[in-house]
Assembly symmetry: C2
Homo-oligomer: 187 residues x 2
């Protein structure tokens, strides 16, 4: 089955390359040709591995959904510490595992208007908010977080994180922010 493994590896190669380009240049400005060139591989061959540019994006989203992404919150860990460590980990990924970081950014971007419907719906279907909402409620009960609608707070929190991560993705020069700052939105 070396043949099949070979193919799977090539697929992965394309996915990773596309991920990087999509995040760096934006989906619409990344031509199939650009990805092919970066892999590298002929343009036509891209379609041997993925049915279309949209499919490629969709696959990335699916990959992102399988990933470690979610914020579940373990019992016994206080909510603020938990979110903090999540952010810390994500920032550290930015260094040694850029693809995890990029994936996070992409997942956020795909939800925005103007992105292909299928991928968009998929990405929007994972309600990443829910776990955070209950984490926030818990935090409020414990007096760790300030008052306010937990749902709105959760959205603000992630919207901020998304904004900051995108800033970082676009400008690798940018210094890493202190995760504490971001969690402060809830405190």
């Amino acid at each position: 089955m070396t043949r099949k493994e070979q193919k799977e590896e090539r697929r992965q190669q394309i996915l990773l390359t596309a991920l990087e380009l999509f995040v760096k240049r934006g989906y619409h400005d990344t031509k199939i040709t650009d990805i092919a060139e970066a892999v590298p591989m002929s343009t036509g061959l891209m379609f041997h591995y993925f049915g279309s540019k949209e499919d490629l994006l969709t696959e990335l989203v699916k990959m992102g959904m399988r990933g470690p992404g979610s914020v579940e919150g373990k019992v016994g860990v206080s909510p603020d510490v938990y979110l903090l460590s999540f952010l810390k980990q994500m920032f550290s990924f930015a260094k040694d595992q850029p693809w995890v970081f990029n994936m996070f950014v992409l997942m956020g971007q795909v939800r925005r208007p103007g992105m292909p419907e299928e991928a968009r719906k998929l990405a929007s279907s994972v309600n990443a908010l829910a776990p955070t909402v209950s984490l926030i409620k818990k935090g409020q009960k414990e007096g760790l977080f300030h008052k306010g609608d937990p749902d709105t707070m959760a959205r603000c929190f992630w919207a901020s994180v998304q904004g900051i991560m995108e800033e970082m993705a676009v400008d690798p020069e940018m210094k890493y922010p202190d995760p504490e700052w971001i969690v402060a939105i809830l405190k």
Copy 2:
């Protein structure tokens, strides 16, 4: 000169319509046809007013640059209060002057990769950060804000604001966040 005024008004009409659509659906997914239909006006006529879709975007950016946008910080007002009132104002604009709000969001979006170069460079040229940076330094001196690189802090602050505003722009249902939460990033 009624003729000229008439034309200017029509131009404005197009700009406002485009602004709304660009923010709601995204630049790439908004076809010239969509704008024309929304104005309403024939497709061809659009090019009587603007040379191209990119020009239209560029004009919007120029308009945004003339606007009230900047955060200057008056002497005598403490930095945190100042930023707070800026956010409050922006949120209230979301209700009665959506175009101001949308413009703010657009200016942020245009800086991102994948947007037309000309508009992108233009929008990036206004260093909106500088005033905030000095505001932050001042705030730190007064002990209002926490320690940290002022530049990074400013970028995080605005990236968060941008993220949250986009969230609001996409989902008008969303409840308004308390501006205090956002300024908390700096405290």
